[in-house]
């Protein structure tokens, strides 16, 4: 039935004269659970379904979407998409052109073993409660808040285009985490496992949450929060910095993921998130990092939060190198932006919308820092003096993605090849290409997928789920201890 509605939308806009139309039926279901101080404070289920129609008319884009899934309202939004496109044409400089992509008839489903929506609420809450209670038990006096989280997302997407594409996808992801907040004399210290801001997420079934073993890590998480209370503050200095995967994932996200988005580089996000220092004249020649740095946009990585079959323009999932041995070699692009640059390989396949009511924009898939040759322990042993930082706490970067500053939940001083002691309020700052230029080593034994389910971009604002495969890496001469 929803396929029929999508077809009606295509036919209606085409009849009016649209030169290209696509229609997306999307149904998103989500479940959010939060256990705090022994109480299941949040049990939220959300369900949104709708159709979005994108049309090119008179050489310009128009988009309309609705949650009312009735024939009359679908005809109405198809007409609206056409009308809005005509309005866009009143202020256009050039006609929209799309790079070619084969019109596929295909299906894709996230491979899962246990459907997270079929696991009983009791089982999920028991898992969360057990982990949360273990964290709380570390110290009744000092652990003031302990929490555990679970989130599951199921998305059915049906994409039809006037070029003949018919793609049916079912994306499932889930995950969670545990955190402990220790407070003493106004000093607030938080530790989280496996990541801050509600945990880690993968395109996978409930087996992913089970693999995290929240209960098995809750005690150490809370203990470290308590240890931070008596730790010294991160010194203000320039030193060798080791960053673990949980923090490095966000570093890759902010300083490589966003600046390699071609829409940013071409100026179409200038009014909100900003532009990019990776201007088109730098493509293929700019030294972004050291030869140790290779980064790809890979929508095919198993488990990655940005893994899917096809993007929201019907382009198949691709693995596109962005940085090859330190050199900037490619952008993340759409059919339109790829055509503007005449990219021979066409779109990188990263166009996604966060709901049926949003127009797709260039989004990260899985932006992966390829693993290095080291084991984490070897990296530490090889470092005479430095700091190891872990788990993101704060993040900020300028509108061209150059000047960044990150803070982490925890850090350790490294002296003579071993972790000496824990320090708190750790921050580091730098300029993107100088920072990546100082990377001299990365590990391979802790490389895994980190999920970022809350990447904001666009106007109107959209929130997308993206992934990052990273391990621990080492950087020389980094300024730390700013706050």
């Amino acid at each position: 039935m929803n396929e029929d509605l999508a077809r009606i939308a295509l036919r209606t806009a085409q009849k009016l004269g649209a030169s290209y139309v696509d229609a997306r039926y999307v149904n998103i279901e989500s479940e959010n659970l939060h256990v705090k101080k022994g109480v299941a404070e949040e049990i939220r289920n959300r369900n949104l379904a709708g159709i979005g129609v994108r049309a090119i008319a008179k050489g310009a884009w128009g988009f309309a979407g609705t949650t009312v899934l009735k024939r009359a309202s679908i005809v109405d939004i198809a007409k609206k998409a056409y009308k809005v496109a005509c309005a866009s044409a009143r202020a256009k400089r050039a006609d929209v052109k799309l790079s070619p992509t084969p019109a596929k008839k295909a299906k894709y489903s996230t491979p899962i073993r246990k459907d997270p929506f079929k696991i009983s609420l009791n089982e999920k809450l028991d898992t969360l409660k057990t982990a949360e209670r273990i964290a709380a038990a570390e110290s009744k006096e000092l652990i003031k808040t302990s929490s555990s989280f679970f989130r599951a997302h199921r998305e059915r997407k049906l994409f039809l285009s006037s070029e003949g594409a018919e793609i049916d996808q079912k994306i499932v992801w889930c995950g969670g985490g545990v955190s402990a907040t220790a407070i003493k004399n106004g000093d607030v210290q938080v530790r989280s496992y496996p990541a801050s801001f509600r945990g880690n997420f993968n395109t996978a079934g409930y087996e992913f949450l089970e693999s995290l073993d929240l209960a098995g890590h809750a005690s150490e998480t809370a203990r470290e929060a308590i240890q931070l209370l008596s730790a010294d503050k991160c010194p203000s200095t320039t030193t060798t910095l080791l960053i673990d995967g949980d923090q490095l994932a966000l570093q890759v996200h902010e300083s490589c993921g966003h600046p390699t988005e071609l829409d940013r580089a071409l100026g179409t996000e200038a009014d909100y998130a900003g532009t990019s220092f990776l201007t088109t004249d730098k493509l293929g020649s700019f030294r972004y990092g050291s030869p140790k740095v290779s980064i790809s946009a890979d929508a095919t990585t198993p488990g990655g939060l940005g893994t899917f079959g096809y993007d929201d323009e019907g382009v198949p999932a691709k693995n596109v190198p962005l940085i090859k041995e330190g050199v900037f070699v490619n952008y993340q692009s759409s059919r339109e932006t790829a055509a503007l640059l005449n990219l021979p390989e066409g779109s990188s396949g990263g166009m996604r919308a966060d709901s049926p009511l949003a127009m797709p924009i260039v989004r990260m898939t899985n932006i992966n820092l390829l693993p290095g040759d080291w084991k984490v322990e070897e990296l530490i042993r090889d470092t005479q003096e430095g700091i190891l930082m872990s788990t993101n706490k704060s993040w900020s970067i300028d509108d061209r993605r150059l000047n960044f500053q990150f803070g982490t939940e925890a850090a350790w001083l490294i002296k003579n090849g071993s972790k000496e002691r824990m320090i708190k309020q750790a921050t580091y700052t730098g300029i993107t290409h100088q920072f990546w230029g100082s990377c001299d080593a990365a590990s391979n034994d802790d490389w895994h997928m980190h999920g970022t389910p809350t990447c904001g971009k666009g106007v109107p604002g959209q929130v997308m789920y993206v992934g990052h495969g990273v391990s621990t890496a080492r950087f020389r001469n980094v300024r730390v201890g700013i706050a």
Binding site: A40, I43, A87, R90, A91, N122, E269, M359, T429
Partner: protein, 451 residues
């Protein structure tokens, strides 16, 4: 919508809920976005939905669906009850809010704004682009958006609450990029209103273009402590982070700076801040919150002093402390990832200074048009980091002398706002706060961005 909310509530009670609440909502967002001096995205969206909370012996089912047709309403109610039945008891939950009388706010909805034609938005975009380009031949590109639409919700609960609100919205933002000898200068200006008649396209375009033209060829300013003049946009963004300290969720978790400074003068004595959802000077006005509780005007900061009376609550967080909600529950129409109360109608008291006076009173300082990507580094100390953007200038001996590259700041905003020297006499409406311009004695800049 009121009827749908009442019906859903009554179905839930008939099906066994001890208490039930239903909120029906609609959100219309039509937005024309431009960049590189042409329209590149143009959307028209209609979203509706229903949130149902069913309570059975303190067990709560919380369901939201994106539909308002009778079968979806019934299914949402059934699902909420189903979830409640299998949920554990939440002993911290006291009750859904009791009904309270409130007076309706008039003049918050303009039909023409809510149903604006896309051609009008496109023509306004075109006009802003033309005006900016006419200002100088080195204006390179104009970007921005023009949005019109409306938001409405109706909430009913089994205790008799039957309330709602409706507003229309019009917003325009313009970014102008100029370039001289390969060096870019950016300028930005925006306006937020409930009636598109209040959106002065010419004024927005001129202000953004002027700043952009003056920003080209910036020089590098060494990081350090400087006096600073913060334009309203920068003040509002910093307040949106400071305001977290007044949320019951932060206060109860012990992460709020207010908790550690009760009764203390943490800000300058001239610093006054309130939140008032009924004050038409703010944008997202509503007589009631997302639970139908009348919005209470809260004094957050008085004479620079913070205390417990400034903490905002929804019914759940209030119940934990045996208090009543202050009317700050978020309506499902703007539900975000985080749950709990929020401040959306802040107003900072004006002073008596003009911008000229602020500049005149600055011996060596930085003029900040906007902050960008602000984040909290330390919650109890309210240490924030972020960057300047879209027009940063050096002030020397009482005069703006030259544009400087964007700077990173890292500082405690308890200290920054303790050091307020002058407060602007004019307030400007931003999205979640209506604020004046400020001059502060010290802002710590910790880095410089590259050109």
């Amino acid at each position: 919508m009121s009827e749908i909310a009442r019906k859903a509530t009554s179905i839930a009670v008939k099906k066994g809920a001890d208490q039930a609440e239903a909120t029906a909502f609609t959100f219309v967002e039509d937005l024309t976005r431009f960049a590189n001096s042409q329209i590149h995205q143009n959307v028209a969206t209609y979203k509706n939905g229903l949130r149902v909370r069913a309570v059975l012996k303190k067990k709560i089912g919380d369901i939201m669906v994106g539909a308002l047709d009778p079968s979806s309403v019934e299914k949402a109610v059934n699902d909420a009850i189903k979830v409640a039945k299998v949920s554990p008891q939440n002993e911290l939950f006291k009750s859904l809010p009791e009904p309270k009388k409130y007076s309706v706010l008039k003049g918050t909805y303009d039909r023409k704004t809510a149903t604006c034609n896309p051609n009008l938005r496109a023509d306004n975009a075109k006009r802003a682009i033309q005006i900016a380009h006419d200002k100088a031949n080195f204006v390179k590109a104009v970007a921005g958006s023009y949005m019109t639409g409306s938001a409405a919700f109706a909430v009913a609960n089994s205790l008799g609450t039957d309330a709602g609100a409706q507003i229309s919205l019009a917003q325009m933002a313009v970014t102008v990029i100029s370039e001289k000898d390969g060096s870019e200068g950016h300028g930005y200006y925006s306006a937020y209103a409930r009636n598109m008649k209040e959106i002065n396209v010419d004024d927005i375009a001129v202000k953004a273009a002027d700043k952009s033209i003056r920003s080209v060829q910036p020089t590098r300013l060494e990081p350090g402590e400087y006096e600073a003049i913060l334009a309203p946009d920068a003040v509002a963004l910093s307040l949106s982070y400071l305001s977290n300290g007044f949320l019951a969720t932060w206060f109860q978790d012990g992460t709020s700076f207010v908790k550690y400074n009760l009764g203390k003068q943490v800000f300058h004595e001239k610093f006054g801040l309130k939140d008032d959802g009924r004050d038409l000077a703010t944008l997202y006005v509503s007589p009631v919150d997302g639970e139908g509780v009348p919005k209470q005007a809260l004094t957050l900061v008085k004479d620079g002093v913070v205390d417990e009376k400034g903490i905002c609550y929804d019914s759940y967080t209030a119940g934990k402390e045996g208090k009543k909600s202050t009317g700050h529950a978020v309506a499902p129409v703007i539900e975000t990832f985080a749950s709990g109360p929020d401040l959306t109608n802040m107003i900072m008291s004006p002073g008596d200074a003009s911008e000229e006076e602020m500049v005149r009173e600055t011996s060596r300082g930085v003029y900040v048009s906007r902050f960008h990507y602000v984040r909290t580094v330390n919650q109890p100390r309210m240490i924030l980091t972020g960057l300047t953007r879209d027009g940063t200038f050096l002030i020397e001996n009482g005069e703006i002398t030259k544009p400087v590259r964007n700077l990173r700041f890292t500082d405690s905003f308890l200290d920054v706002y303790k050091g307020i020297q002058l407060i602007g006499r004019d307030q400007e409406r931003q999205a979640f706060a209506t604020v004046p311009q400020l001059k502060v004695g010290k802002l710590r800049f910790t880095g410089v961005s590259e050109q």
